[in-house]
């Protein structure tokens, strides 16, 4: 069984259209993020998030009445499977540094007073002080950038050319920004799990790019005379079946994570689902064409040098 027999698609020739599309989407996405649409979870923004399990079916309106009395602006929504009787309460007011769980206590007390007929059986909470939130945000950005930088150096070393490393790193950065734009657009929160997904994605995107780079490296050994653009395009076609099958299976695995992984993994699953699609796309239309464009410029420069 084979998916495509001897594919011969002109990826690199069409790359300029896709690159323009990417630029447009990223510009729109960055504008959307810059105008404050990226929501960060309590880990990063600091604050309080409670997941309360009620004895009976929770009435969100009554809970909202009770909670907003002590904590105006609190977000209240059902959490996970409606049959599980769980409600998520997000308290907007900042957790005070000296008494971190004061807002959480106040909410629990308010619910006991104002909605006592349906008692809370169990409460899970996540409370993050402002110091930790800011520290974590800096760390996440720093680690992503450093991770990319080290991968770039490794690839540049293995392929004896900075442009290969740069191609892979730019494509990975493209994927991360793309995912952030999608996360902002679909109103997902940036949690620690989402950061883990983004960092994994960097690894996955680079991984996907390297497989094709590797094929090109092999082809370069015995096809020295050909222009790089053709050689790179052939490498893309030769590995296309693998690209579709590998990324397809991983895509379906993370789709399972997104659909069945429950509330906690929903953001993670979403990021991976978008990321694997974008990662595959960026390998074909960003990373490899970038390398091709660079070599084409080199070849032109070489030709004009000879002509002179």
């Amino acid at each position: 069984m084979e998916i495509i027999k001897n594919p011969n698609i002109d990826f690199i020739g069409k790359a300029k259209y896709f690159a323009s599309l990417s630029v447009l989407v990223l510009a729109a996405g960055l504008f959307w993020i810059a105008s404050g649409h990226l929501r960060s979870g309590v880990e990063f923004s600091g604050g309080t998030q409670l997941i309360l399990s009620f004895k009976g079916a929770p009435e969100v309106d009554k809970i909202r009445d009770a909670v907003t009395r002590v904590s105006p602006g609190a977000v209240i929504q059902t959490y996970g499977d409606p049959k599980a009787n769980k409600v998520l309460v997000r308290i907007s007011q900042e957790a005070p540094e000296t008494d971190l769980d004061a807002p959480a206590r106040a909410v629990r007390q308010a619910l006991a007073d104002g909605y006592g007929q349906n008692p809370i059986l169990e409460s899970s909470s996540e409370i993050v002080g402002p110091i930790v939130g800011a520290e974590l945000r800096q760390k996440a950005i720093l680690l992503t950038v450093l991770g990319l930088l080290f991968q770039l150096v490794y690839i540049a070393w293995r392929f004896r050319g900075g442009v290969w490393g740069a191609g892979a790193a730019i494509a990975a950065l493209h994927d991360v920004l793309f995912c952030l734009a999608f996360l902002a657009f679909f109103r997902f929160e940036i949690t620690l799990n989402v950061i883990a997904a983004l960092l994994t994605l960097v690894g996955y995107s680079v991984n996907d790019t390297i497989v094709i780079f590797d094929r090109a490296r092999e082809n370069m050994l015995h096809r020295r005379k050909e222009p790089m653009a053709k050689l790179l395009n052939d490498s893309l076609n030769q590995t296309l079946t693998r690209t579709i099958i590998s990324n397809g299976t991983t895509f379906l695995a993370v789709l399972g994570l997104f659909l069945f992984g429950g509330e906690v993994l929903r953001g993670f699953g979403f990021t991976m689902v978008v990321g694997i699609l974008v990662g595959t796309y960026s390998t074909l239309f960003i990373a490899v064409p970038l390398v091709s464009w660079w070599y084409a410029r080199q070849e032109r420069a070489g030709a004009s040098a000879k002509a002179a």
């Binding site: 169990e122 930790v132 883990a196 996955y204 379906l252």
Partner: protein, 548 residues
């Protein structure tokens, strides 16, 4: 299971011997050693994870993280300035005492910053003596500088400051360990973390009474017994008695009075007769009215000092001050000995908790919460169910796809995936690492990378076959060519995972751990084991076609 087999090493040796027997009976000579080596390793993995989850009271080998089994995760900051202040205060007392002993008249000696104090108004004739005295007493750890007009500034060296901070955090960790042990929590984690070294991570898996756990951890438990200078019903009355300002050697505190809602204010000596450090033991008892109280006993040195001081101050009030609140202030009736008590309005549970905390010792500094994560047990159970369901869905789909698309060779890939999973779980069990929900996600991702390795190899073999190579040559070339690709892809993925590791936070670290182990295991399972299976099945016979 017979007792001899309970020992994992014996069990493993027996299984390996059985495997070796089978290998020698049925396998070609050139494959034997490889088969035994790979088999022995995988059998060791099986033994390492057995039993995987708790059954019949035997604890499971796979430890679940807080997010899966419920519990509490706290990040605390040690307010190290507290400890620095206390160290400077001690030095102030020493300086004043020593000057007095040498008969040097000095003016004020007081703390001016968390790491320095000043001496003012030394009598002009003795300035040199005072300088020598300070230099002598605070040699090494402190710097003494002249401030003119018989004044000196004494400041901690940076090295000493660092030492004090480190000791404070270490002491806080030891105290927390003792307290958590008193709570009876299994497998707690209490460790320093953070770049500045003043943060402590506390993880208490399976704890259900979160409020109690937090109280026990956070109570500073600074106990001191101090002489009372004056008491009054309001702060103002007290201050009027001393000219509107609390004198240098005294401090102002309050505590509950005899009638509820009417606190009593106390002016106490700054110097304590007894502190929490002097305690030998503390436990709950009952008083004459059958009310709970805390009995405590002092160690030998403290008993001598306490007896001497109480003997000298009969008729005065002695305040029992705990974390800034005066619990009671009984009048000293006679010289007191080793055994004493704290009365107050405790419930039995409060008294019990407090006595445990007192026995575990005081924290050297106040703790502040930076982060708190509590996971209820039922939320954890939901997460396990969801995580396992997602994993099974992913695995089932991949298995079916590989079998349909690659037929016999797909079976090979499925075996490789199973071996990969086995190794990841065994490594978690062996290193005592915990499986978290992001960890499960990491395993699913590992499966994805594992499939990629197989697909790379299989596609390459197909390509070689299309180019007219024989089956054996195609398989050989396929694996050889793909080796470099796998090396480079795994190396870059490991670089990404290494940075995830730096996060140092529970769940993400769990993810990085499974990813790193998974990547390494994948090279073994999807490359070497898979290659071995091909070699074994193809054998020495001439093979016309390959089911791929």
């Amino acid at each position: 299971m017979p007792p001899a087999l309970q020992n994992p090493v014996t069990l493993w040796l027996l299984l390996t011997a059985a495997l070796a027997g089978l290998v020698f009976a049925f396998m070609r000579p050139e494959l034997r050693w490889k088969a035994i080596g790979y088999g022995a390793f995988l059998l060791a993995c099986v033994v390492a994870i057995w039993p995987p989850y708790e059954r019949d009271g035997v604890p499971g080998r796979i430890k679940l993280g807080l997010d899966l089994r419920g519990g509490i995760h706290l990040v605390l900051q040690v307010v190290v300035e507290d400890a620095l202040n206390a160290t400077v205060d001690d030095a102030v007392t020493t300086a004043r005492d020593q000057a007095g002993r040498k008969g040097i008249q000095v003016g004020a000696v007081q703390r001016v910053s968390p790491k320095s104090f000043s001496v003012q108004g030394t009598e002009p004739a003795r300035v040199k003596d005072m300088r020598d005295l300070l230099r002598d007493f605070f040699r090494g750890s402190w710097e003494v500088r002249d401030a003119g007009e018989g004044g000196f500034t004494v400041e901690m060296t940076d090295l000493y400051e660092r030492q004090v901070k480190e000791q404070t955090v270490q002491e806080a960790i030891r105290t927390l360990e003792r307290r958590v042990n008193a709570l009876g929590v299994a497998e707690p984690v209490i460790a320093a973390q953070g770049s500045r070294g003043d943060q402590i991570l506390v993880q208490l898996p399976g704890v259900t009474d979160v409020e109690q756990a937090k109280r026990v951890i956070k109570t500073t438990a600074q106990l001191s017994l101090r002489l009372v200078e004056n008491t009054a019903a309001t702060e103002d009355t007290l201050l009027q008695g001393v000219g509107g300002k609390v004198p240098d050697n005294m401090e102002l505190f309050s505590g509950p009075g005899d009638t509820a809602g009417e606190p009593v204010y106390y002016l106490l000596r700054r110097e304590a007769l007894i502190t929490g450090r002097d305690l030998k033991s503390a436990r709950v008892g009952v008083d004459e009215n059958n009310q709970p109280q805390i009995n405590f006993a002092l160690n030998a040195t403290a008993t001598d000092k306490f007896a001497r001081e109480t003997g000298r101050n009969i008729g005065r009030q002695l305040a029992i001050l705990l974390d800034g609140t005066v619990y009671s202030a009984p009048v000293i009736q006679s010289k007191l000995g080793s055994d004493n008590r704290i009365t107050g309005r405790f419930t039995t549970a409060e008294a019990d908790e407090l006595s445990k905390i007192l026995k575990a010792g005081a924290l050297p500094a106040t703790l502040r919460y930076l982060q708190e994560l509590t996971v209820g047990a039922s939320l954890g159970r939901d997460s396990i169910r969801d995580g396992v369901r997602a994993s099974i869905a992913a695995m089932a789909f991949i298995t079916i796809f590989m079998l349909v698309y690659y037929r016999f060779s797909g079976l090979n890939a499925v075996v490789a995936l199973a071996a990969n999973l086995l190794i990841v779980l065994a490594a978690l069990a062996y290193t005592n690492a915990t499986l978290t929900l992001p960890g499960i996600a990491g395993i699913i991702l590992t499966v994805g990378v594992g499939v990629d390795t197989n697909v790379l190899v299989f596609e390459r073999i197909r390509e070689e076959l299309r180019n007219g190579k024989t089956v054996r040559a195609a398989v050989q070339n396929g694996f050889e060519r793909v080796w470099i690709t796998i090396l480079d892809t795994h190396a870059t993925a490991l670089i990404a995972a290494a940075f995830l590791f730096q996060f140092g936070t529970g769940p993400i670290k769990g993810f990085a751990v499974t990813l790193v182990i998974g990547l390494v295991a994948n090279v073994f399972a999807s490359y070497f084991v898979s290659k071995f299976i091909f070699e074994w099945v193809l054998g020495k016979r001439h093979v016309e076609s390959l089911s791929i």
